[in-house]
């Protein structure tokens, strides 16, 4: 009886604290965010521009599908800095300086993330060992700079701050399939409703990498994505794997991977990429559709890389001399896990942001359940001890000697 009421207590308390938790959010830090397509001459050449402004700064995210898809992250100390695109120069063989932020002096930090290739390999033994798979099991990689892209302008949703960059390769596999970067901007803190339910704030934006209905080129196909990032010569990016005990928001996924600049003597915060080590085989992000992913170490690229023109347009011609350029891979799927062909769909999400990467913490529900659950037995023990002591005293006092 007592334990039942204790259980009831737990439930009531949980409900209470959960209710409090929702209302008790801190004063939110917000930015005014906007997402728009920068109009050009050719509908297949997309530039999407996200501005996130507060009183003293602006964060620009510039997405482009000219050449390999890429995103530039620029942090400026001015709330009124503007993006300028010179289309004629951008499409010329020498695009240097075609993309600028005005005033240039307000730019405090800039970086870029490029999506260069998609690998596909045959995982014969279902080991999902991307880096250890022999060359012969790899199919020719898809070079994203050769993709043709849809007009993104039609997909821009200014109120929900989302847009899609959708493209496909000249290949049989992409006959009905496509690759999409679904871009979302945020104006305040929150959490997505669908797994991996990344925690976000006003200082970041998100992209989802979607492969849908792309035909695998064989049985047991697995995919991996190659990305390239750059950082000013003084520092370099480093890959961090943050293991958390908390998988409340992304069931069964305990690892958050983040790419943060490692720059000594840096006076201000910097850009980061962050993702949970999981992709999903469905849009609903159910656990049974999860395709856990793995990331691999950064490799320096010293020889000339074929940069998409936006990167040269912003960072200039002598990119390799002033920037450390590094490539890394993320592979999808784990040993004994499902293959891509089970779903013919895959979605992977990551954040791009400025400042300190967001960090999950225990929900109030967890803390309160633990508190109540651990506290009750102790309380009961004390109470019981008291009752027993009292009873014993009474028992002894009520028995008077017979004589």
């Amino acid at each position: 009886m007592l334990s039942m009421s204790a259980g009831l207590c737990v439930a009531v308390l949980c409900a209470l604290t959960a209710g409090l938790g929702v209302r008790g959010e801190h004063a939110e830090y917000r930015r005014r965010a906007s997402l728009e397509s920068v109009p050009g001459e050719d509908t297949s050449m997309n530039i999407l521009h996200i501005r996130a402004v507060d009183n003293s700064s602006t964060i620009h995210y510039v997405w482009s599908s000219i050449g390999a898809p890429a995103v530039l992250l620029v942090y400026t100390s001015s709330p009124s800095s503007q993006l300028n695109v010179n289309w004629t120069q951008l499409t010329s063989p020498t695009p240097y300086g075609a993309i600028t932020i005005e005033p240039a002096s307000s730019v405090l930090y800039s970086t870029a993330l490029l999506f260069t290739r998609i690998f596909e390999y045959q995982d014969v033994n279902n080991t999902a060992d991307f880096s250890g798979t022999p060359e012969k099991y790899f199919y020719p990689a898809y070079d994203l700079s050769e993709f043709s892209w849809d007009d993104a302008n039609a997909t821009v949703n200014a109120s929900s701050l989302t847009a899609n960059l959708t493209g496909r390769a000249e290949s049989h596999s992409f006959q009905n399939g496509s690759l999409t970067f679904r871009i979302s901007a945020y104006d305040g803190p929150g959490r997505d409703k669908v797994s991996p339910r990344l925690l976000h704030n006003a200082n970041c934006s998100k992209f989802e990498f979607l492969l849908s209905q792309v035909k695998p080129r064989g049985n047991n196909s697995r995919f991996a994505l190659e990305m390239v990032t750059l950082e000013k010569k003084a520092g370099r990016k480093s890959m961090q794997s943050v293991r958390s005990i908390d998988d409340e928001y992304t069931p069964t996924i305990f690892e958050v991977a983040q790419l943060v600049p490692h720059t000594p003597n840096s006076s201000h915060a910097q850009g980061y990429f962050q993702w949970k080590s999981v992709a999903y085989g469905s849009t609903s992000g159910k656990r049974e559709d999860s395709l856990p992913c793995q990331h691999y170490i950064l490799k320096s690229l010293n020889e000339s890389v074929e940069f998409p023109s936006v990167v040269h347009a912003f960072f200039g011609e002598d990119l390799l001399e002033t920037y450390n350029v590094e490539a890394f891979n993320v592979s999808f799927g784990i040993a004994d896990g499902d293959f891509y062909d089970k779903y013919n769909f895959m979605s992977w999400s990551a954040l791009i942001g400025y400042g300190t990467p967001p960090k999950d913490s225990f929900s109030i529900l967890v803390i309160s359940i633990m508190g109540v659950a651990l506290g009750l037995p102790v309380l009961l023990l004390l109470l019981g001890a008291g009752v027993v002591l009292k009873l014993k005293n009474r028992v002894y006092s009520s028995y008077e000697p017979i004589n």
Partner: protein, 507 residues
């Protein structure tokens, strides 16, 4: 008491206990050697059903490939075993008490197990998955009830002797059954494949038929055990507390608070162990970066540890007593293990070993407690009820924890299990105080129990001596005769009050 009187002859010496023939230790039910034989039989009685219970898990890939079913349908094989048991365990104990008696009950349930396994295997042979499911259903009807019968046998032979040890041994035998099955069935399958030449449903069927041999072995044990039990009853005049009494379903209402608390501990504890092990593999892969093989190994470590430890703990609890404290210790240790798994990145081998140790300890200390709080004739019902609600709890919590895992992840699942364990702790604490206040003997040390038992025996012996020492005059015999008929006689001639008059109480 009434029964005893009924069997007693009117005239002393008219039919005393016959001279016992001298027997060798192995065949004398009074001797330890004989009890050991009985113990072995009891252990192998359950071996078949435990072996075959996990046949699907051992052959999961083969079953899914040969029968062409997905994982959800495959899991139905376990569901079909579990669901009927929610009700049947209860009736199993009931049937033992009321209808069949322990001996025939055991034999009948063993038969169910055998037939179920044969139907299961036949389903594979004829490539009919529904038949396999039906087989599991029949198997399930026998399986859990057989476990009830096994427990009842253990109590009737070993109560007051090596009961905890026996429970421990039975448990470890169950684990040995599962483990042997896990390691052997795959080999058997590949051998059969070599013999037949191809894989396919017939290979699977033959393999399962071979697995069914263990059930036959158990059936033989049931027959031998039944024979030995009857023989012991004749030789020892062992009281068969179960027969003659009419037990109503409403008996459940008369279960004491202590018994309900024991049930609560049982449910709350087991739902925090078995569903976790069922869902554990992915946890070790994702959180601790284990390979699937390593994860499988660490996930089975609880069973592997409990196989050798159970008899050791059983023996220890027998020697020391103090069951409630052991249960408390086990539950707290399990809670510690779960908290470790949930909130730290410590090597999970520590937590899982702790879980294995405390799991075996709990089983050895908890199950025998039922025998202390229930009259012997209700034991079957009580154990049946205990297993029934354990099954119900497991079935429900298995579903619930699946939902929790899918929506809120492992941390929350572990927190949920911890909460269950805290409820178990609350129940144990209450059990402790109830026992303390009402003066139950759940938490006595074994020497105190032995002393009490000796005193009781002493008392009974004195009683008997007193009765024997009464000079059976013709008058006394007539009084006794009249009292049997129900005729009124003066108070001071009633024989069973004579003994009381010797005590200071009535003086």
């Amino acid at each position: 008491m009434e029964e005893y009187d009924d069997r007693e002859a009117l005239l002393p010496g008219a039919s005393g206990s016959p001279e016992r023939p001298k027997m060798s230790a192995i065949s004398d039910p009074n001797r330890l050697a004989h009890r050991i034989v009985v113990l072995c039989l009891m252990c192998f009685l359950g071996f078949g059903s435990y072996f075959c219970y996990d046949n699907p898990a051992a052959l999961q890939t083969q079953v899914q490939l040969d029968m062409k079913v997905n994982t959800a349908s495959f899991m139905q094989l376990y569901a079909f075993y579990s669901w009927p048991n929610v009700i049947l365990c209860f009736f199993g104990g009931f049937l033992i008490d009321r209808v069949f008696g322990i001996r025939w009950g055991t034999i009948i349930f063993s038969l169910f197990v055998c037939v179920g396994q044969v139907i299961f295997a036949a389903g594979a042979l004829f490539n009919a998955f529904w038949l396999m499911e039906a087989g599991r259903l029949v198997f399930g009807i026998g399986g859990e009830s057989l476990a009830v019968a096994q427990n009842t046998y253990a109590v009737s032979w070993f109560k007051g002797k090596e009961l905890n040890l026996v429970f421990g041994l039975q448990l470890s035998m169950a684990r040995v059954g599962s483990t042997v099955n896990m390691n052997v069935m795959g080999l058997v399958y590949s051998r059969v494949k070599d013999l037949i030449g191809t894989t396919g449903h017939s290979t699977l069927g033959v393999t399962l038929m071979i697995g069914g041999i263990t059930c036959l072995l158990s059936l033989v044990c049931a027959f031998v055990l039944g024979y030995l039990d009857r023989r012991a009853e004749k030789i020892l005049n062992k009281e068969q507390g179960k027969t003659g009494e009419v037990i109503k379903l409403t008996d459940v209402k008369d279960f004491s608070l202590s018994l309900w608390l024991i049930f609560l501990v049982c449910v709350c504890y087991y739902v925090a162990v078995f569903p976790f092990i069922g869902l554990g593999k992915v946890f070790f892969i994702e959180k601790f970066n284990f390979s699937p093989v390593q994860a499988g190994a660490i996930n089975s470590v609880v069973y592997i540890i409990s196989a050798p430890l159970s008899p050791v703990f059983g023996f220890m609890v027998d020697r020391i007593g103090k069951n409630i404290l052991w249960v408390m210790f086990a539950v707290v240790a399990t809670l510690g293990a779960h908290i470790m798994l949930a909130f730290t990145f410590w090597n999970p081998w520590i937590a899982m070993s702790l879980l294995g140790v405390s799991y075996s300890l709990l089983a050895c200390a908890l199950w025998p407690m039922v025998a202390f709080v229930v009259p012997e004739h209700q034991l079957g019902t009580a154990y049946g009820f205990m297993q029934s609600i354990q099954n119900l709890g497991l079935a429900i919590i298995a579903i619930v924890s699946g939902i929790i895992l899918d929506t809120s992840g492992y941390l929350f699942l572990e927190v949920f299990f911890s909460a269950c364990l805290c409820l178990a702790i609350i129940a144990v604490v209450m059990l402790y105080f109830v026992n303390l206040i009402r003066g139950g003997d759940l938490n006595l040390s074994s020497w105190e129990r032995a002393r009490l038992q000796k005193e009781a025996e002493h008392e009974a012996q004195r009683e008997r001596m007193r009765r024997d020492s009464i000079i059976w005059t013709a008058f006394a015999v007539r009084v006794r005769y009249l009292s049997r008929l129900g005729a009124q006689i003066p108070k001071h001639f009633i024989s069973h009050q004579l003994s009381l008059s010797h005590r200071s109480v009535l003086k």
